[in-house]
Every structure is written in structure tokens, then in C-alpha cells.
């Protein structure tokens, strides 16, 4: 596993709070095989993710579900298996990213659709938000996750989407109703000021003017 130094501040903050992006995911040998798998995997389609986002992400996103779904699919489609992970001070281990979860996620999305057909005779995307959520909760029935998982290691695409979204600076802004804009370039001179409230009360535009 990654040792303390490199992620030390990040671990103390959102990284640890969210449990994301902080663990090595595979051994080097395994990752080399995974790289071949990933290169053959077709990308995840945003259209299949948006109905899920509408069901599992906060309603305050409003018209933002499609945008978030696009961000999520772009993120996972840009993933590279076999890439070297950061190796910090004091750690001799060299580790690499593991197999892309896209194939598994696509299967799970298809299963949600089949469950919707079975229960409601409609496609998953044609169901109401409550109906979709019911199907998702049922699918997550065997998940034992207590803390927010690393999206790449989440047992189900719904958890991956939730974990990924809540790790975004935008989600923190929404929670705090303030333009924190974590990890974005922000003038040093503004650091002592209390972050400004969100302009529209719903989401940050991420323009760096905290």
C-alpha cells in the first residue's frame, strides 16, 4: 500500500474522508495483463449513466445530471490500466493501476435495465426516480460498504458513481454552499477570506474566484 508521506495531507482531508484514490490497486504483473483487457474494452456510454445519476445523486443537481454523467464517463474512459501509481517517501513498493472496471459496470447497468423490465415492464431510464432508486437499492443489497469506496474498487457502478461525484470539488461546494473550489488554482491573496456563497445556491461554476 502507499505509505504515509505522499498522501499525507490529502489523506487527512478529502482523500481519507472519501476513501478514494489512495490505494494501490494491483501488483505490477497483474496490471500488465489488465492493460491488455482495458485496451480492448469499449468505452462507457454516458446515455446509460445519466438515468442512474438521476436516481443516486442529489436532486439539487437539477439540470446537472447529464453534465455529471458526462464527467464520470469521461473519467473512466480515460483510465489506463497498468499506469504507475505514485510512490512516496519511504516506500520501496512500485505499484500500478489495475484492470478497468468498465466491463463490469456495463454488465451491471444492463442488469439494472433487466430488473426494470422485470419489475415494471419499462426500461430503467423510463422509470420514475423513486422506482429507479428502489431497483438500485435492491441491486446493492449484498454490498457491505460502510465508507465511501474508491470509485475504481466499488462493487457496483451505482456506488462508483456516488463515490466519484462526492469526491469532486463541486460536491464539496454544494455541501458547504460555498465556493471552496478545492484543488483549483485560486489567488493566494484570497486565502484568508471566508469562501463566498454559491452564486445560485446550487452549484459552483468553478471559476476560481473563492
Amino acid at each position: 500500500m502507499l505509505s504515509r508521506r505522499t498522501f499525507v495531507s490529502w489523506l487527512s482531508g478529502f482523500g481519507a474522508a472519501l476513501g478514494i484514490g489512495v490505494r494501490a490497486r494491483t501488483s505490477e504483473a497483474k496490471a500488465k495483463d489488465a492493460s491488455k483487457v482495458a485496451s480492448q474494452a469499449p468505452p462507457l456510454d454516458q446515455a446509460t449513466v445519466t438515468p442512474l445519476a438521476e436516481a443516486v445523486l442529489p436532486g439539487e443537481l437539477g439540470a446537472g445530471f447529464a453534465r455529471v454523467s458526462r464527467g464520470f464517463t469521461q473519467w473512466i474512459n480515460d483510465y489506463r490500466a497498468g499506469a504507475e501509481l505514485v510512490h512516496p517517501y519511504g516506500s520501496t513498493n512500485l505499484q500500478r493501476t489495475g484492470e478497468s472496471p468498465v466491463g463490469r459496470w456495463r454488465t451491471q447497468l444492463a442488469q439494472l435495465d433487466r430488473d426494470a423490465q422485470t419489475n415494471h415492464h419499462k426500461a430503467f431510464g423510463a422509470l420514475t426516480r423513486d422506482q429507479r432508486r428502489e431497483i438500485v437499492v435492491s441491486a446493492l443489497g449484498t454490498e457491505r460498504t460502510n465508507r465511501m469506496p474508491d470509485p475504481l474498487d466499488a462493487g457496483h457502478v451505482a456506488l462508483a458513481l456516488v463515490a466519484w461525484y462526492f469526491a469532486q470539488p463541486e460536491a464539496a461546494n454544494l455541501c458547504y454552499q460555498a465556493k471552496i473550489d478545492r484543488n483549483q488554482c485560486r489567488p493566494l491573496v484570497n486565502a484568508p477570506r471566508q469562501p463566498l456563497p454559491l452564486v445560485d445556491g446550487r452549484r459552483s461554476m468553478g471559476d476560481g474566484r473563492s
Partner: protein, 533 residues
Amino acid sequence: MSARVIETDVCIVGSGITAAMVAEKLADERNVRVVVVEAGDDMPPVQDWYRLRKRFLDYGESPWPSDHLDDASVEGIQSRSMCVGGLAMHWGGVTPRFSPEDFQLKSSCGVGDDWPITYDDLDPFYQEAEERMGVSGEQGPADIDPRGKAFPLPKLPLSYNLEQLHGWVSGAGIPMWSQPSAKNSVPYKGRSACCRNDTCTPICPVGAKYSPDATWRTLRSGKQVTLLTRTLVRRLVLAAGTDRIEVAQAVSRDRPAEPIEIRARTFVVAGGYVWSSHLLLLSQSTRFPNGLANKSGLVGKYLTGHRNVSGFVSLPLKLYPGLNEQHSLVSKHFMRKPRYDRYLRHDLRVWESAVDKGPRLRNDANELMLGDAILGDWRDRTKTGTARVRCYYDVTPARDSELTLDASRKNALGDPLPKLAWRDAESSRELRGWQEDQIKALFESLARAGNGRLIRTASDSFQDHPAGGCRMGKDASTGVVDSWGRAFEHQNLFVVGAPTMVSGSCANGTLTFCALSLRSAAEIGKEFPGKRM
């Protein structure tokens, strides 16, 4: 095959932060030719850093791919970094000075050993290191944070969160201030000001944090300094019948069958706490069967550092995690003469934190939450804030806290690899439990002072900012090198930076590594004609 011969005035082995300091000072002040030999590769240029940082944030990928040699691994604590710029390509940029007591531990505190220099001896070189790197800082109270001159750059401002936390610790009676850092608070030496991207470790995407590649870029554009990359120095060899080093024998990673000889008047080993001792031990000969500079048997001994105790404190303060997570408050309040009945000195740092305040999947009733429920739960739990607290405390090393050659593990060239074993002196072993309890008690008292709650603590066995292995001493019986880093047994051989430290203090070590290196460079430079300033 005959060797390719390179002749120069000064040969520096390694291109990390201490090598950069030495090379730059020599080039600035002396008419001297310098060849720097680095086993690793160049790292990506600054224009690529935003892209590399994004992949780090998105996937945890290393922003410094290929920054190590696969066959240069070590048994024990080691950082896998062997590249142009070395480990300081992904350091945190935190630059406290040691305190005067660190240099006179035996005489002022009754533990460990005194260094052959004092804080006052090093003060001008601390200043020089701060100016060369660009350190933004705020001086603490002069009685606990002495310095000869002002910091070269204004302090990094405290974020809104740190201002709140400053009020908390001030109420507890502890003076704290903005952590001095090699991060530009204003543009400096062609590098931009910090803009709180907050990924200083492992990568500052704008180059506001000093890293040695900036120095190498400048030096390589001139004519005095040549940097050989992908070239591994395997041995230092003496001139026949003398104790002077004549040649650094090296091999190109691209043409391993072609040996390279670097001939110089002066050799500077700047390989950090692992590879410096390793090179001296590898450089065995008939006359020096235990390696160079090692008649006393001290090469590789007294590896040192500091351990830490950390904790998280829940406070009734509205904080906004993410404003500048890698910046902190610092105090030297506990670094000066011991404030406890038994020996304990430590620093204290305070950061903003999101621990215990992040979104979660299950509520207190263990019910799965999604969407609005997660957000609502998160909002409820972020009405108060969390502070991260940490103390480094110093550890007195045993003589056999050591680096040795491991005959069972060899690199691709057949050279034995290092093996590290960290051992406390008996006095430190006996004190450890009590010391860590005192620090945890301090965290408890801080929490109470803020009407808060200590969430958890952790003690780390890792010794941070590792150093030693070629410790300085007053003579050859107490050290490998003198206070200038010159080997007692070899007049033209210097070891610089971390390996020369006698003890590891209880604060981040890199600035001290650099100050010591600049002091060595001042001595090295005396053998070469000065430039008209």
C-alpha cells in the same frame, strides 16, 4: 574496452536538491567546471505538470513516471526516487530550521551527541538556502525562533481555516505561525506565485514550489555545469599511492558496456542518506577494504530521523476543508529546552482537515443512503470542523542504526544493494512510550481548550527525513567527515547534506540538508578562483 574519459574540476555524484545547491553556488561564485552525474532520467518539463497532476488527482498515477531505477531497490525505509532533481521533485516544500539545541544536544539536553558546528555557524547558510530556493516565511517569537535576517519572501497567508485554528491554539497558550515553505508567496526567480492548487506533494503544477529542476534548467543553459543523466557512478578510485580520489568510475545505462571515467580535482558525493554511504562502501580497495573514509567503521552508521504522533481534533468551528490543505501552522514552542521532566522535544503543526467530516454511505443507524440523504447527512456533520495535529519528536540513533551492503541482493551490474536497519539508542528506546503519551496528552489538552474532542491519534514507526550514514564529527574517531563535509581520510572528497547529519531533530530536514551543503560548497570553492562579484 577503453573508458570514455571526462575531465573536470568538480564531480558531483547525484542531482538532488543538495547537489543543486552545491553546483549553483560554485557556478555563481567560482571559475570552476562542474560535472554532475545522475543515474536517473530527466523529469517532464513544467508545461506538462498540469496534465500530469490531473492524472494523479483522477487516478493516483505518479506524476513522475520513470523517476527510479527498477533494480535500485533497498531493504528498509527507502524512497524510490532516482532522477534529475531527486526526491525533492515531490517533496512538500516545508522548510523549518532546526533549533539551536539540535546542534548541542549532549551539552544542552544531555542526550545524543553534539555536532561540531552550532546553529550560529549555520545561520548564514540557512539564509542562503532560503534565498536560493525562495522561502516564504514568518518569523516566530525571536526567543524560540532565532534568525539573523528576515525571510526572503513574505509569509504564505493563513487561509480562513488556519486563521480559525490559530485562534484556537492561541487560546491554549501556544504560539504558532505560518509554516515557512519553499513556495512562492510572490513571483520569484522566474517562478510564479502559489495559487493554492494544493497538490504540493507530489506535484506543484505551476512551479511555485521550489524543485531542483529549476536550478538545473538555469545551470544547463550556462557553460560551467554539465549534467550527465542516465549515468551510474559505481566506484570512486584513489590515485595510486595517495589518499586522494582520482576517478569516479561510471557506466551509461544506455551503453553499459562502455565504461566512463570522470576525473576531477574534487569529488562531491550528494546521493542522500542511502546512496552516499552505499557508494563509499562499494569503493573498496586493497588499502581500504571497508570502503572509502571508513577506517573508523562509521560509514553507514547512525542513520537518524524523527518519528511522529498525529491526531485529529473535532472542534466547534465552521471550517471549509480544501482552502489550502497542505499549508499549516507551526510552533517551535516545544523544540527549545525540554519542557518535560524527562527528555522530549518536538515540533507542533496544525492543518485543516476533512477527517470525520466527509460524505458517507451509511448513517448512524447503518442505513444505506443515496443522493439527497448523503448530502443532508454530510451537511449536518460539517457544521463543525476538524483539525489535524502532528508532532515530530527526535530520536537518538544507535551506532548500529545502519546501512550495510546486502550480498544477497544485487543490481543489474552485480553490485550489492543497500540494506537499512533503524535502531534507537537505548535512551530513546526507553523514552519512546512515555514521549508518545506526552504528545497525546498535549493533543487532549488542546482539544479541551477548544471545547473539542480528540477523534483519534496514531504513532508512526517510520523515521521521517532520514539522514546520517556519513555523520560529521570533530575527528576521524567520531565522524566520517568534518563539519564542512570533507572526509577525514580523503582531502578531495566531500559528502554533503543529509548523510552528514549527527541527529535528525524534530522538524523537517530538507532546509538543513541544503544549508549544510551550501556550507560545504563554501569550503569546496576555496580551492578555485573566485569570480568578480
